[in-house]
């Protein structure tokens, strides 16, 4: 399989405030990319813009998956095209069982042409698959009967997101700080799970502050974002350097981007991440 996700000169605004200022990024199927950067640099914004959040307006540039222009698609169409985002803070859907949610989601993603009201994946077949994926990820079988993210601990939410990724097997997955709020053991488990589900089976964009999540997922490419642009790209060693030494060198090397970053932080609004 060869697929390619191409982001070209992407400008994104939230509430008419520019956040991304010309992002270029190419991810090939099977590659692992790490995206790092200080707070407010635009990492999550990039993820949400790719996923198609309606509040993130693309003012310039394009996002393409193979020949398909994602920029013109609704979030659900992007999902069916093969894009997935594991959210930093997934929302709860009270009253909807995780298994029912995933069955509907998996049906739609696997059969992109399905019309509303058409049959879902047969229950028995789906349950079997879900059960085996949950075993593989060491997730308590009780999970399936609980309401989507409702009353989940931080760790449970992140594992539910990885389970969702496993069931939808996207072409490209963005993992937004899947390590945040987790203790060291939980991060190690998440890291191993991502490797098990995603490594070589999709293109991965891992947004993280730390190198722990990358333990089982050594990136071929590490990108550093600052002030809404990718200012530097390197290999796995760059991720290690940033984790060990922080962003001082980056901030000094790219004063314009740093200025933009400070400006964004100053007028940060609830939505801007």
């Amino acid at each position: 399989m060869s697929h390619i996700l191409q982001i070209e000169n992407l400008h994104v605004s939230v509430n008419d405030k520019p956040i991304l200022r010309g992002v270029n990024l190419v991810i090939k199927f099977g590659e692992t990319h790490a995206l790092m950067g200080p707070n407010g640099s635009g990492k999550s914004t990039l993820g949400l813009a790719i996923a198609g959040h309606p509040n993130y307006q693309i003012t310039q540039g394009s996002i393409k998956l193979d020949d398909a222009n994602l920029t013109e698609m609704e979030a659900d169409e992007r999902s069916r095209a093969g894009v997935f985002m594991a959210f930093q803070r997934p929302v709860a859907i009270p009253g909807v069982k995780t298994a029912d949610f995933l069955r509907h989601a998996a049906t739609n993603v696997r059969r992109p042409d399905r019309k509303e009201g058409q049959d879902l994946i047969p229950m028995r077949e789906f349950r079997k698959e879900l059960k085996s994926k949950m075993e593989q990820l060491k997730i308590d079988p009780d999970f399936a009967r609980r309401y989507v993210n409702d009353g989940f601990s931080g760790g449970e939410m992140k594992r539910a997101e990885i389970l969702t990724m496993a069931m939808l097997s996207p072409k490209f997955a963005i993992l937004d700080e899947t390590d945040s709020g987790l203790d060291a053991d939980a991060v190690r488990l998440a890291s191993a799970s991502i490797a098990e589900i995603g490594r070589d089976k999709m293109g991965l964009l891992i947004i993280t502050h730390h190198d722990k999540l990358l333990e089982h997922n050594p990136p071929q490419f590490t990108h550093v974002m600052l002030g809404g642009r990718i200012v530097e790209t390197g290999g796995a060693e760059l991720a290690r350097e940033l984790h060990d030494q922080g962003y001082d060198r980056i901030r000094k090397s790219y004063p314009d981007a740093e200025a933009a970053n400070q400006q964004m932080l100053a007028k940060e609004e609830p939505l801007a991440v």
């Binding site: 659900d76 985002m85 929302v91 859907i93 009253g95 909807v96 509907h104 989601a105 509303e116």
Partner: protein, 443 residues
């Protein structure tokens, strides 16, 4: 008292005037006590005004479009069959008895022979008022006072027929009893439901009302009385699915005796305007009630529910949960009260109302209330109203759901808490299907 803009057109009618009432008495074969009761109620009807829009129970109501002259009571038994009127609660259900009425007059009755032999009565209220005269006389309009308001008086005077269910002492009716009220387009239904469970009795009653099509007009003015003696167990389901052109007025009452249990589930889907006054009275120690309500409105539907959980005795429990989903320009009003009488110690009362608005133009009024005259009680209440969360929709869309599928799922999830409380699976399924039909396509 002067009539106001809300009701000034209501009286301009002959169809519900003295000649109609006289003809009704003449046509009916009622026992003397019933004729006397009707006449008393008719006097009330003539002596009181239509509800005052400044009255707390009616100030969020809208009666301006109601023209009684456009409707006529069904007196001459020229029953028009309401063809094609859907039945929703029968699917997959094995029933023990059934009644069906058209325009408020019972047209078919059935009852398991074994149950009849045990003394169970399920039949037309008009017929039972004759055949079981003493029994019906004792209970009919024992909970609903014709003076409650002018609609109650009209119904008590002119009720056309209805459903009588009587379960004798220690008899358990295992299979559900199904009652169906069908009303033809432009017709009137003045039916009454009377259910009596003697001590130790148990029954499940599935009641549904419907019109031949969703746009059908009509006027329903009805009453429900549920009477439970000690240690009885009643599950009562009421699916209101009148056409969206119908006026729906109802007084609904339950009286729950010692150590008895009532589970009352209301699903309101239909009617253009509804005003329902639902009261549960816990009259002896140890009585328990659970009231579940599902409302789903669209277009310009306007449903008003005034509810009361009245703790008249100590050591009783009442649990109340109404959930509404509103689309388009529809409106719901819930005004709930937990009333604890003096001496009703160790009361455990709970009420909650949650509303989910699917459009900017929808409106939900939610007014919980407590009136407590005892000092050792636990009463809690709460309500929430809000728009469907765009973040939930986006989350679901990012997992492949279309916007419309996402909203459907969120609505289903919103109602799930009620479904989790409904113990009858077929009812859960029927209500789920009714709700799914009602969710619009959202672009």
């Amino acid at each position: 008292m002067t009539t106001s803009a809300m009701t000034d057109k209501l009286d301009s009618t002959e169809t519900f005037g003295q000649p109609a009432f006289d003809r009704l008495l003449e046509k009916r074969i009622d026992p003397a006590w019933l004729t006397a009761k009707r006449k008393q109620a008719w006097e009330v009807f003539q002596s009181i005004d239509w509800p005052n829009p400044r009255d707390e129970n009616w100030m969020r109501s809208e009666l301006r479009g109601l023209r009684l002259s456009k409707f006529a009571p069904n007196i001459d038994e020229s029953v028009e069959i309401a063809e094609g009127t859907p039945v929703r609660l029968l699917e997959g259900v094995d029933v023990s008895a059934g009644l069906r009425s058209v325009n408020g007059v019972v047209v078919s009755e059935s009852l398991d022979e074994g149950l009849a032999a045990q003394g169970v009565v399920v039949g037309s209220l008009s017929r039972c008022a004759r055949d079981h005269s003493a029994l019906v006389e004792r209970y009919l309009h024992s909970l609903i006072c014709p003076k409650s308001d002018r609609f109650a008086a009209l119904q008590a005077a002119m009720w056309s027929d209805g459903y009588f269910v009587y379960v004798p002492r220690n008899v358990r009716v295992e299979k559900p009893i199904h009652l169906h009220s069908a009303m033809g387009d432009g017709q009137v239904d003045l039916s009454h439901t009377l259910i009596v469970l003697e001590s130790g009795a148990e029954a499940t009653v599935l009641f549904e009302s419907s019109s031949p099509d969703v746009t059908a007009k009509g006027l329903h003015c009805g009453g429900v009385e549920l009477i439970q003696h000690g240690n009885s167990h009643l599950r009562y389901v009421n699916l209101q699915d009148w056409g969206k052109g119908c006026w729906h007025f109802a007084h609904q009452r339950a009286s729950v005796g010692r150590d008895s249990q009532l589970q009352w589930t209301v699903a309101a889907m239909g009617a253009k305007f509804a005003q329902v006054d639902q009261r549960v009275e816990l009259v002896e120690p140890g009585a328990r009630s659970q009231v579940n309500g599902v409302m789903f409105t669209q277009d310009r539907q306007h449903l008003v529910y005034n509810t009361l959980q009245h703790h008249k005795a100590p050591h009783c429990t009442s649990d109340f949960l109404y959930k509404s989903v509103l689309q388009d320009r529809s409106r719901t009003v819930w005004r709930g009260m937990i009333k604890v009488s003096e001496g009703a110690q160790k009361t455990d009362g709970y009420q909650r109302n949650d509303n989910l608005m699917l459009s900017d133009a929808a409106r939900a009024d939610s007014i919980p209330g407590l009136e407590i005259n005892a000092d050792d009680v636990r009463c809690t209440h709460g309500s929430t109203s809000g728009r469907v969360d765009e973040e939930l929709i986006f989350y679901a869309q990012s997992r492949g759901f279309t916007r419309s599928e996402a909203i459907r799922m969120i609505v289903t999830g919103f109602f799930q808490q009620i479904f989790d409380r409904i113990t009858i699976q077929t009812v859960r399924e029927a209500l789920g299907a009714a709700i799914a039909r009602q969710v619009r396509q959202y672009e």
